[in-house]
Symmetry: C2
Subunit: 352 residues, 2 copies
Amino acid sequence: MSKKRVRLADIAERLNLSKVSVSKALRDHPDISRETRELVKKTAAEMGYMPNLLARSLSSQRSYMLGVVVPKLTYALMATAVEAIQETAMQRGYRIVLAVSQERADWERQHIERLLAMRVDGLLVSVSQQVFQHEVYERVQQMGVPLVFFDRAIEGMGFSRVVVDDREGAYQAIAYMIRKGYRRIAHVAGPSTVLIGRERRAGYEAALREAGIPVRPEWVVEGGFDEWHGYYAFKRLLQRKELPEVIFAVTFPVALGIRAAMWESDPALVDRIQLISFSEGGLSEFYVYPHICIRQPAREIGRRAVELLIEAIESEDKLEPRQVVLKTELITPEDYLRRFAVRMATERPTAG
Amino acid sequence: MSKKRVRLADIAERLNLSKVSVSKALRDHPDISRETRELVKKTAAEMGYMPNLLARSLSSQRSYMLGVVVPKLTYALMATAVEAIQETAMQRGYRIVLAVSQERADWERQHIERLLAMRVDGLLVSVSQQVFQHEVYERVQQMGVPLVFFDRAIEGMGFSRVVVDDREGAYQAIAYMIRKGYRRIAHVAGPSTVLIGRERRAGYEAALREAGIPVRPEWVVEGGFDEWHGYYAFKRLLQRKELPEVIFAVTFPVALGIRAAMWESDPALVDRIQLISFSEGGLSEFYVYPHICIRQPAREIGRRAVELLIEAIESEDKLEPRQVVLKTELITPEDYLRRFAVRMATERPTAG
DNA sequence: CTGAAAGCGCTTACAG
DNA sequence: CTGAAAGCGCTTACAG
């Protein structure tokens, strides 16, 4: 009942052992005999001992903490990826310190500095959409702290990354619509300062070009990744001479914003204009609004990123930066019910 | 370019000062003269000094880390609340260590133990839906580590909590439907092991009783908080003699599962049966599927919880446990467009 | 198999 | 205003 914490020294004293032996016994060091180990553990449990991880980290120079920086947590992709990161990290004995940049480069920088000061063993970063300086990343590099970018990466700095083949995903989606007979396809694009923005747009343009359809600049509206960007982008599209038959939105939220703007200006538009967008890997989104989605494997992005990072942390020598490019998957409303049935058949509720 | 970290001692040596003075200067301690302070800071910056927060925490017995445990991060409410927690914490100089229990009590316990071992200054917990033992929480109590529950709480253990008035929210929603003329109202409930499950159900039953409508046990199906629970619950409702006109779902995902099950068995049901559910505070969900929602102020839940926690951490003496009960708000599809317009008028995109 | 010594990089409390 | 001493609670490297 006392607030006094039990320390290694207390166990040592009680057992007439040295701190070192107790420390080793608790960590299953082979130096210590089996009986002593068990005695120590038993006593530690009885005394309610809880190792001070701060102290352990300081002396061992390993914190087993991973810093995670995301632009937002309310993007389904990010929530899902972070969840996977946390689970994978936990299984490997690491914990995560989470920071959200809210798409602001200055917060991102501050967060990374803080995390370095906390002596995290490594960093997992998905960059903000704002333009920014690379100084922090140079700092990370010179401190020799492993960093892996996920989903949104900075190029040319020698860091590993786990990304999705955005260009190919966009290309496939647009090609699909072209095969379906559509030719008037607009794009509400992401910021060109962010790689995924550029890549998705490149895929869109490539598909059009390949089909001999000219890219109409007035049908490419650049914005951000949020609902409002979609909303305002559609308002701009409305001012063009002609409306498209299909709008390819850079993200799911952007598609929702577009849809809201359509609804506001004329509910009939919602049925008349087809939407396509990238989306997170879960199925939830298909429940609610089955437009055509370019599915991103959010959990796998997170899992692979942690694995790369831990590998770099635990490796003796500096590893070459690696680049993992995951495939997207086009999911049409027709696919939806089938997938849903499969999921329901395999994942039965456990509670209730 | 060297990987060698600069330490307090290095600055002290360079400046011919003691470590203590440098330490104080960097923390703006009034002991140190203005000029010395600035000289120290300038030198520290030049040398690329970055205080080792691990060491600082160990010696000051304050880690400025907050442990956050949530059942899932893919619940919109949780992602939003955690985002708000992270932001508020950051503003107050704290960082968060995030752990996800995946609705499993054993993971929840493990996470809390780990976080205690990391010597977090406080804990923010939203409990899992599984039944569990309270031992960890007794441990937290006896260690004197402040803990605040948010959204999902354990009662009767003397911890502060920030919750939503679930009973009232449910009551208002059902009363609204009754005023609209509906009388055959079913409930897909949460697990009775979790407080919010019991409260929402109580509100549902109270509203019916008050209107003189008998509660039909065959129309209350208990489950969990996920899509599948909704899906299977609806399958069970289908086996009853009669179908309800309205289904009150305990969470938004459950409503989606119900909707999917309706669609699968007969698409016409989707238009025939009204859905109501609790939902997170953001507007995103209304974009996609405007059924009637009982809006929970997710960001405020997170913000208030951190504030309570930090207050407890920073207070000299042990504070009385506090209970903050936030109001929900009923949002009908009719409210939707109006709110949307307001949001679009006030929150203009910043990027793009 | 066991332990005494030194150290991780800071801060606190005290003395000057 | 400045600093020497002790300590936070561990682990590492070495000696026995």
